[in-house]
Symmetry: C2
Subunit: 266 residues, 2 copies
């Protein structure tokens, strides 16, 4: 239970203050935060509140989104601000999502831009002492969200950028299907700097907003956690759920349910 963290999007109805107090009330020791929610409360107040409740910020979600409209070799204001926020709240890492596919439908080009964008951000993150967690998303999101879709591909990027500030985020929903998962995790090893879980529901209610509470779907989450741990990961296990049905429930009930399920899925 010490490893349980909950991403605040899971209790989306709450602002950051309510989420921090709610998680603390349930004895949850970690939280993943969103820049928008931090800005809403104000950065200094957010940082102070997180410190006051002694919550570990296991992730800041998210930045990146390198597109053809901007020069990827220059860090955008939004991405620079996300680095600042991560530094100020003492986040373990800042999630980086690369994409989407641009209007030119040039998939190879979008992937090249992602590498340039990541490299540019890495230099600034390194200077700020912030870790970037490159997250491959599920291949079904290639067109409209993220062109980096496998762990192997993300690891190739991490190798190419070669910065101590850049690691990998493993999210069960995005990687569970991958036939190369065991070998990619082995290869990733200590470069795994964040681990998120949620479940894959059948039938799937929605590709993005249909993620399941751990235990409600088909992913062998306990098995995945064993694999991630076996290659050296010892950090938080962060539950992150985008789901309209979950969002419509009482957040306290959702947190209780996640706590109840946690021992059997971690």
């Amino acid at each position: 239970m010490q490893r349980l963290s909950i991403n605040q999007i899971t209790v989306r109805e709450w602002g950051l203050a309510e989420a921090v107090e709610g998680l603390a009330r349930h004895g949850v020791r970690g939280i993943g935060v969103w820049p928008e929610k931090v800005e809403e409360l104000g950065l200094e107040r957010s940082a102070a509140l997180l410190r006051a409740h002694d919550l570990r910020v296991s992730s800041v979600c998210r930045a990146g989104f390198f597109t053809v409209q901007q020069d990827p070799s220059r860090v955008s204001d939004a991405n620079r601000r996300a680095i600042e926020i991560t530094q100020a709240v003492g986040g373990d890492c800042l999630y980086i999502v690369c994409g989407p596919l641009d209007e030119d439908n040039d998939l190879a080009g979008a992937r090249d831009r992602a590498l340039d964008g990541l490299a540019a951000m890495a230099a600034e993150a390194e200077a700020a002492g912030v870790a970037l967690a490159l997250e491959p998303l599920h291949p079904m999101m290639t067109a409209d969200r993220c062109v980096i879709v496998t762990l192997a591909q993300a690891l190739d990027m991490v190798d190419a950028v070669s910065s101590p500030a850049v690691g990998i985020a493993v999210d069960s929903y995005n990687v569970w299907w991958d036939p190369q998962l065991p070998s990619s995790l082995e290869r990733a090893g200590a470069r795994i700097i964040s681990y998120q879980i949620c479940d894959w529901l059948v039938p799937q209610p929605h590709p993005v907003f249909g993620r399941g509470i751990p235990g409600d779907g088909v992913i062998d989450l306990a098995g995945l956690t064993r694999q991630v741990d076996a290659v050296g990961y010892q950090g938080p296990i962060e539950v992150e759920i985008f789901n309209e049905d979950v969002w419509s429930r009482d957040p306290d009930e959702v947190i209780s349910l996640i706590r109840d399920r946690f021992p059997s899925v971690s």
Copy 2:
């Protein structure tokens, strides 16, 4: 245009007789057929009709579906019948879909069963002179449809089964996102025995029944065809579309539109 084939599911409203006559009327020389539609008309009548119109049967879709409920080392009646049908209509190949994930949620086990099931079918297909086209589906279908989700994984299976009767089916919708696509196509080479195209729409109307008419989505289909051809494929280019909206249109209009688009996407 000589390479254009259209899978009959694209004009789902029509029975096989209407589809054969419709395609011939539009000067389309190839068709992919479904066992259910063949049985509906009768196997002998179907075979005679296809011959009478001199249509090339570029595929029979589909068989496989190895599950825990049956011993995968024994070929099921449905799979045996699909081989018979393919032989009788002179089909270039019979598509094999492996899955879904079974109720035990054992992904590795389901993949092992798929290999056993394919090997058992390969022996009978070889004896019947029928080619099996192993089709990796998109990873988003891992749970409810097919546990084989990348070309590399399918090629590993083809290598393991090592039967001259087993090759690979490349379907644009299932493989376009894959960062390993160029290397997997290179590796596949002459083992590619079928090629299907459709487009990926943004936003995606439905994971299974939301495929787009070539040219309506984001896949670089002309580029993919060049890659497939470059590794030695010279066969039909079969357009296969599952889409409720397309199915609600006049099939003659759909065929005309596909014919119009074909030069720019092939």
